[in-house]
Each structure stands twice: as structure tokens, then as C-alpha cells.
Symmetry: C2
Subunit: 296 residues, 2 copies
């Protein structure tokens, strides 16, 4: 059964004549007539009483007309939803990123996003594991390494710089390291544990100025970057911290400033199939804007 004939039938029923319906549909009267005839053959029932002054629905026509009306309404509603989905961001958005970036960088900015897009509900999944976007564990991610899968759209956001930090109390007690080799005489704190290896660049203190095959063993390993920062802040030792963890006016002191530090690029990542979803586009544009205006 050709559904398009039902659409034509509905227009005819509404306009009350083949001629008017033809004008509405951009068809000739004969074409409309034939479509209706074909439909009547399909349902094996006359749908209109042909009068000289137009058409009157038969009993069966009335039945089909109600159906066509309901179908039209249902479709119109959906078409509106489709453009809504395309033009007005709404729905749930699962965002994943690292614990550090999420809590220190993303979370403070999310309020503004929610203000701009009140129909979007955001779920933050902060974990240092990389969730599988292809499996829809999350819709969009901020990653600290470039993704490899080709079906993932990636967009660089900003570069995270790292520096060695210490607390004034620590320096007062142990002094600043004078060189990379001098690190052997200091208490080294490090991010680590079960976290993924790509974050090991913050293990720089373990190998800097030393044979990489024989790295220093940190005096403290912790798998939470905020905890690491707090340990440094209270004078537990030296640690490589990302700059976003150190707010303006912090008491933390950068040391070994002359050394070249590792850095990581952050990427906004989402599956190619999400690129048409308005809330994803809005979130992407929002983050890009925030990343541009934000400098370390």
C-alpha cells in the first residue's frame, strides 16, 4: 500500500475537491483523481461520493480520513521534534573527562552552559579511565590524549602545562632543588596507581635528570590529583601538577622553572554519529569558546 496516497487523500478530503487539492499539492486535477482512484482500488472501497460541486466522504472515507488526520498530526509533531532536535539543544548529555579537569576546569564552567541551554541535562562522568564512546558509555569526552579511532571526531581544546610545585613550608625546610639531579635529595610525590599510563607524563620527576631505566621511586603515590595537590600544599614534597590545579594567588611555588616540562593537549571527542545532535554542537561550541578565552 502506497502511504503517499493517504497524504494526498487527506488533502483532498480537507479541500473538498480534486481541483483544489491539486492546487495545494502542486498536481493536476487528473493526477489527484487517479491517485484517489488507485487508493480506492487498494482499500477496495469508494472513499468519496462524486458530486458536481465537490466531494463528500463515504462511510469508509470517513474512517480513513480520521486515520489520515491522526497520522498527519503524529507526523507533524515529529517533524517539529526533528527540527527542535536539530536547532534547539535538549535532552541528556553524558560528558566524561578526567577527575582533575572535570572538577577544576569543567565543573566551574558548566553552570553557564546550563543557563544558556536550560533543556539540556548534563551528566558528568569523572574518571581517569577512558570510557568507550562507541559503546555510548558517554556522549562526549574531554581527553588528554589524541584518540585513534577514525569514527571519533576530535577537536583540540587547549594545552595543559605542567610545572613542579612545592609549598613554601617545604622549601623553607628542604630548600629548592637546584638542578634535576638534585631531585634525588627531595621528597617526590606523584600521581599514579591504577590510572592509565598516558597520564604518566606527570611522572616526569621520576626520570628527569636520570637514567629512565632506573627512575626515582616517589615517596607518595596517589591516584587522585586533588589529593596530590593537597599533599604538596601542606609541604609533603615536590610534585608535577597541571597548571589548572593552581589557582591565581595560590601559595604554591613553582620550582625548576628553567626546565622543560611535559605538556598534554586536551581534545574534545565525540562519535561522528553525534555531530548532528544540537546539544552536542552547543556543548562543543561552548567549550571551544571557553578554551579560547582561557589561557594558562
Amino acid at each position: 500500500m502506497d502511504w503517499d496516497r493517504i497524504r494526498i487523500f487527506y488533502t483532498v478530503a480537507e479541500s473538498g475537491s480534486f481541483t483544489k487539492a491539486g492546487d495545494t499539492l502542486g498536481l493536476s486535477q487528473s493526477a489527484v483523481s487517479r491517485q484517489i482512484s488507485a487508493l480506492e482500488r487498494e482499500v477496495r472501497a469508494p472513499l468519496f461520493h462524486r458530486h458536481t460541486r465537490g466531494l463528500i466522504l463515504t462511510e469508509q472515507g470517513e474512517l480513513l480520513w480520521r486515520a489520515a488526520r491522526d497520522m498527519t498530526q503524529r507526523l507533524e509533531k515529529t517533524k517539529a521534534q526533528l527540527t527542535e532536535t536539530r536547532e534547539h539543544p535538549s535532552g541528556e548529555l553524558k560528558v566524561t573527562t578526567t577527575v582533575g579537569l572535570g572538577s577544576r576546569w569543567l565543573a566551574p564552567r558548566l553552570g553557564e552552559f546550563l543557563d544558556s541551554y536550560p533543556d539540556v541535562r548534563v551528566e558528568m562522568l569523572l574518571t581517569d579511565e577512558e570510557l568507550d564512546l562507541s559503546m555510548r558509555q558517554a556522549d562526549i569526552a574531554i581527553r588528554l590524549r589524541q584518540p585513534q579511532q577514525p569514527d571519533l571526531i576530535q577537536r583540540k581544546l587547549f594545552t595543559v602545562h605542567f610545572h613542579v610545585y612545592a609549598a613554601p613550608s617545604y622549601i623553607k625546610r628542604y630548600g629548592e632543588p637546584k638542578s634535576l639531579e638534585d631531585l634525588d635529595n627531595h621528597r617526590i610525590l606523584s600521581f599514579g596507581g591504577t590510572s592509565p599510563s598516558y597520564l604518566l607524563s606527570v611522572h616526569w620527576l621520576g626520570t628527569a635528570g636520570r637514567d629512565p631505566r632506573n627512575p626515582r621511586t616517589p615517596h607518595l603515590l596517589v591516584n587522585n590529583i586533588a589529593a596530590l595537590r593537597n599533599a604538596v600544599e601542606h609541604g609533603a614534597g615536590l610534585a608535577v601538577l597541571p597548571d589548572y590545579l593552581v589557582e591565581q594567588g595560590s601559595t604554591l611555588v613553582q620550582t625548576l622553572r628553567e626546565s622543560e616540562m611535559p605538556s598534554l593537549d586536551s581534545y574534545l571527542v565525540y562519535p561522528e554519529e553525534m555531530k548532528t545532535v544540537a546539544r552536542v554542537q552547543a556543548f562543543r561550541d561552548f567549550l571551544i569558546q571557553k578554551a579560547q578565552r582561557w589561557t594558562f
Copy 2:
């Protein structure tokens, strides 16, 4: 927007691949692929994620899929109703006929019809006026004269014979009329009044054996045939009555048997546009059957 593409889309969504959908629809895979592509262009949104092992609905596809599902259900329901209407009589049926035929012939038979078709509700409109079937004052009529409009389907049912009746008490008192001319010496009762002229054939007593330009004046005119019959029965005079008014074993006496009496053919009449309605067909067949088995 081509609705038929939605039908195809729904089949694809259900089967999960263009190939399977093509088999289901009797189309090639390429044809299905192009239909979906065209639909995606129409809604300006991708509807499926193409995977090697099949298809997955996008967010927009999900929206459209729900609409297509609802539309399919709605249409299926209506198609069922259409065949129901075609094959199973139901709904309201407005029947009109004369007061006499309706009360004496039709009414006693309607119970059986209602038993056979419990979903049909019958409304009897008994009037000696001819209701306009084209204006839908009634769906179907039993008429005592052949209709003229060509858009009315007519089917002859039976012939109504008329005879002159009198009560035994009347004959005892006044004797039987010996000839048509002898009618001048009798009390003549007649159907009449505002009723339509075609029933004036029962005015036969007024002109029989006499110059038609100078008819006898009846001693009683009544516009209700049952009342006329009752008047005859109680000896008020002679009257032409249709045979269906005189049951077996009645005390009424036929007189002037040798004279040629007028008769009327009864017709079942309904608009051409009702011929496909199952309850009309059922009613028609029922009445034809009853008319055949019923002989005067």
C-alpha cells in the same frame, strides 16, 4: 514529503538492514538505500548509523521510528475497520417505509434481522411521505412506487394486492355489492387526506364502474391505513385494503372478487453510494429473501 518513504523507513528500522527490508518490501537493496537517503535529505538529518552488520537508529531516527510505528498502528487499525465495514454489518441503519408496510410487514420481520446482525442498530422511520434518500433522511426505503432518480438503486420486492373488504356485520345489514355500479348504494371508506397521491390507487372504490370525472365521495377518509382497517372491521363500510393488512383467519370478507383490482409493486430503494456498505447489503439480502418466501 513523500509518506511512502516513511513506510519503507519503518520496515528498514524493523528489519535492521537495507537488504532484509528490500526482501520484505520486494525491492532491491539499492532501491531501499536510495529511498532512505532521500528521506534523510527530506528531514535533513541522518536516520541510521551505517554499520557493517546492519543499521542503528540515530536519535532523529528514533524519533521518526516512534512516529512511524504509531502511524502504522493507526493505519492497521483503520484497515481492519475498513474490511469490517465491508464484511461485517454494523452501525446504524435508517429504514423508511409507509406506515402500513412498516408496521404490518417489516416490523414483524425485523427481529430476525437484528438477531442475525447484532451490531446493526435499526431506526424505523414510518411515514407515508417519501423521505429524501439523497439528503440522507434515511439510508434505505421500501417504496410503493418506482423511484425516478437514476442515482438510486432499486430492487423490486413483491407486489401488494388490494381487495375490497367488508365486515360480516356490514354485509348482514347492507348486503354485498352486486356490481361496481351497485357501489353507489354502499358506504365507502377510503385512505386519504394529506397522504401522497400515488397511494390514491386505493381510491379505486371512488371511480370503479363510474365516470372518473365524477367520483363517489367516500363516507370516511382517514390518513392511517390501520385505522381504516379497524373501521371496516367494525362494520363502518367497504374499503380497499392491501392484503397484508388482512391476516389469515380474519373475520373480514372479500367482496367484488371478480373485479380487477389495482396493485402496487414495492421496491427496495437506496442510494448508489450505499451499495458498498455491508449493513445495507445485509439488509437488502434479508428483505429479498423474506419477500420471496412471502406470498399473498
